[in-house]
Subunit: 154 residues, 2 copies
């Protein structure tokens, strides 16, 4: 019964939103009172589907709906995404400006951040442009060289 699953998950969302639920067993009891009889296993899967997490609060662990409906951006390595998204690159002083295809900046910036290069202090991304702050001009040259070659499609 697909309908019952949907309704149950809906009930779960309402419960989580309206009270403090600390465990799946507690949630199970609450659902029981409303006529839903399920096992902890099912709740574990429901909570996964609904992206509901158990977060530490002042009053202990509580289930809450994870924000942002979950993060975006595939966690692919730079080498995998850059050839697809790279447009061009330029630099001056400690700075590099990297252009990507429209909407690609955040993805590339995250990939860059994940590499945690000491040459790069940080990145700031808009929609299709990334500003990278490098530790020095030498660092900038190294980074620019590497990104250029990575960005060059295979």
């Amino acid at each position: 019964m697909t309908v019952s699953k949907r309704e149950r998950q809906h009930a779960i969302l309402e419960l989580i939103a309206s009270r403090e639920v600390a465990s799946q067993e507690e949630l199970r009891q609450l659902l029981l009172k409303r006529g839903w009889e399920v096992t902890q296993s099912t709740l574990s899967r429901d909570l996964r589907d609904l992206r509901i997490a158990r977060v530490p609060t002042d009053r202990g662990l509580r289930y809450v709906v994870a924000e942002g409906g979950g993060e975006e951006a595939a966690r692919a390595p730079l080498s995998a995404i850059l050839p697809q998204l790279f447009v061009r690159l330029d630099g001056v002083s400690h700075l590099i400006v990297l252009k990507t295809v429209s909407g690609g900046a955040q993805t590339v910036a995250h990939a860059l951040d994940r590499e945690a290069s000491s040459d790069i202090l940080g990145t700031i991304a808009g929609d299709d442009t990334i500003l990278m702050i490098c530790r020095s001009e030498q660092a900038r040259e190294r980074v620019a060289k590497r990104l250029s070659s990575l960005g060059r499609r295979p």
Copy 2:
């Protein structure tokens, strides 16, 4: 060593912010590589202190920093929000790059703007990174010093 606890929790914050961590055991291994040797118990407590939760994502369960007060934090002074959101800071020339937990950059940037320091020409914030343009290198040093101490959690 009280200091070590603070530093360790800071390291955890950075790790969580920059990689996908699926379990406390995995986190323990990562910390080991950086010279921190602790048990899972301690990590459980650290994660509680830092309000880091394990949320379901497309790629499985991952630890993420739970969002702080949100609206509430929006008007709080820098000294109140920075300890919660600060990850690390670095600077070069006239620039400071401040890393925050995911989604924290806008909040911190607003707080910075509200302080209207003449040392800072302006700020640009992405999702988890803020670029601050300072009036001079001396100004940069002053600001960096202050932010570092504010960011150091109590």
